[in-house]
Amino acid sequence: MIQLTNVSKIYSNGARALVDVNLKIGKGNFVFLVGPSGAGKSTLIKLLYREEIPTRGQVQINSRNLVRMKEREVPYLRRSIGVIFQDFKLLPNKTVFENVAFALEVIGVPKREVRNRTMATIDLVGLKAKEKAYPHELSGGEQQRVCVARAIINNPALLVADEPTGNLDPETAWDIMDLLYEINKRGTTVVMATHARAIVNKMQKRVIAIENGRVARDEEQGGYGYDV
């Protein structure tokens, strides 16, 4: 489903975030991206929904080439991908409900259906009571869960999650992981960057370790792997 070929990304200020990365992720896979702070995990994820374009190399999703993709095709690509952003990226002037519903309104889902599906998904992440709150009225973990809800509401073919449990207590974090596991079982490919050693070790899924922009390790059913 996802194929990166000789991908390098050098930001305009000279930062070498990714160096010659080759990667294949099959349909329905569940993959952890691990590695130290600043290794290039978020950069790799940004390539998948085309927030960034590689400096060199090719990125393909379902045989579509993201580098050569036309500007007006990008929205359609993004609608088939659910993204949990590391910094949440909630719309500050919309309530929790509106933020989650936005992902449906974008694709023109009828109003009635929007309401039902949105409420159901908000319930899934445990934020039913906060439906009418604005992002700045939420705790860090609550904001993160709104972002999770928005990413999964569409039943996307691909779900990319950048540190989706960084602001959550272990219990809530596991609730979210169960959710992602469930979604993965229903066929969605999941790529998740994380620092949560306990989660990675317990899930026993494929682990790709990135260091200094290079793939340092790629194991099926791996562990977090860095000893402290």
């Binding site: 929205p75 993004r78 609608r79 974008v106 109003k111």
Partner: protein, 295 residues
């Protein structure tokens, strides 16, 4: 698009409700600009009108040879009335001239005629109006060839200067309209750009979640239209009421100033300001958005 029309209007309304302050700024900018524009148009109309009324008072004065009998004078008058480019001819007879003179210096007609030894020293005088003030000069030239007339006067230098002046007034009018039109466009596009700029993070997030450019653009467009409409309406009211107030005041106190009071012009300006407001708001939104949508 149709499925999301509900979204668009909700979004527009919400945006205005949540940034009442930025909305107010846009409305005021549109309003101020259009008020200036509106008054400039009325100023232009009045300048043109005043120029025309000055020009229409241009006329040619000519004395008739003393030897002409009253019948010959009448013939001469109707002959001139037939000439092309002549609007009207009026006659001041020597008797009227004498009477007027008497009134000026304070004697009766008979006392002066007696003072004067029984003869009237005044000639008959014809006053000729041209259909077009631009033709006054040519008309005067052709009157000069008429053997029955002498001392043809039309204030050459004055006519030249007056024509220059009215031309000048028109230029100023156009200049004012153009300058403030430009200022209005600059101010509004700045305003909209700031609006969009202050929401660029929002726009970026929307794009990342899969919104197409059209989807993002619509609420901005509708918002621009709505704010422009409000600004335009306020401007039309201020210009209309203000101008009405001015005309009433001027007409009651400065009776000699000609003021344009034209229902059709009035309606045209009002509608024009509304449309201009909407156009400014909408076009401003869309163009300012363009840069951010591309990124």
């Amino acid at each position: 698009m149709f499925n999301s029309s509900g979204y668009i209007f909700r979004e527009t309304f919400n945006s205005m409700r949540r940034n009442p302050w930025l909305s107010l700024a846009s409305v005021i900018t549109v309003m101020v600009s259009l008020v200036i524009l509106g008054y400039s148009i009325f100023f232009l109309a009045n300048a043109a009108n005043m120029a025309k009324s000055f020009e229409s008072e241009l006329e040619i004065g000519a004395f008739v040879q003393m030897s002409y009998t009253p019948e010959e004078v009448q013939d001469l008058k109707s002959q001139i009335e037939q000439m092309p480019g002549v609007e009207s001819v009026s006659l001041v007879t020597k008797e009227q001239a004498l009477e007027d003179f008497g009134k000026t210096i304070g004697g009766t007609q008979s006392s002066i005629v007696s003072d004067v030894g029984g003869t009237n020293p005044f000639p008959d005088k014809l006053t000729v109006k041209a259909t077009d003030p631009q033709n006054v000069k040519d008309l005067a030239r052709s009157l000069e060839t008429n053997p029955g007339l002498y001392k043809i006067r039309y204030g050459q230098e004055f006519v030249d200067q007056l024509l220059k002046f009215t031309q000048w007034l028109r230029w100023i009018g156009f200049g004012v309209v153009a300058a403030f039109g430009a200022a209005a466009v600059v101010l509004i596009s700045i305003n909209v750009k700031i609006n969009v700029f202050s929401r660029r993070r929002e726009i970026q997030i929307m794009k990342l979640v899969g919104a197409s450019n059209g989807f993002i653009r619509w609420p901005f467009l509708i918002e621009g239209l709505a704010l422009g409409l409000v600004g335009g309406t306020l401007a039309a009211i201020i210009v209309g009421v203000g101008y009405n107030w001015i005309t009433v005041y001027v007409q009651s106190t400065l009776t000699f100033l000609p003021v344009v009071q034209n229902e059709v012009l009035f309606r045209q300006v009002s509608v024009g300001l509304l449309l201009a407001g909407m156009a400014m708001g909408a076009i401003g939104s869309v163009f300012s958005l363009q840069k951010f949508l591309r990124a």
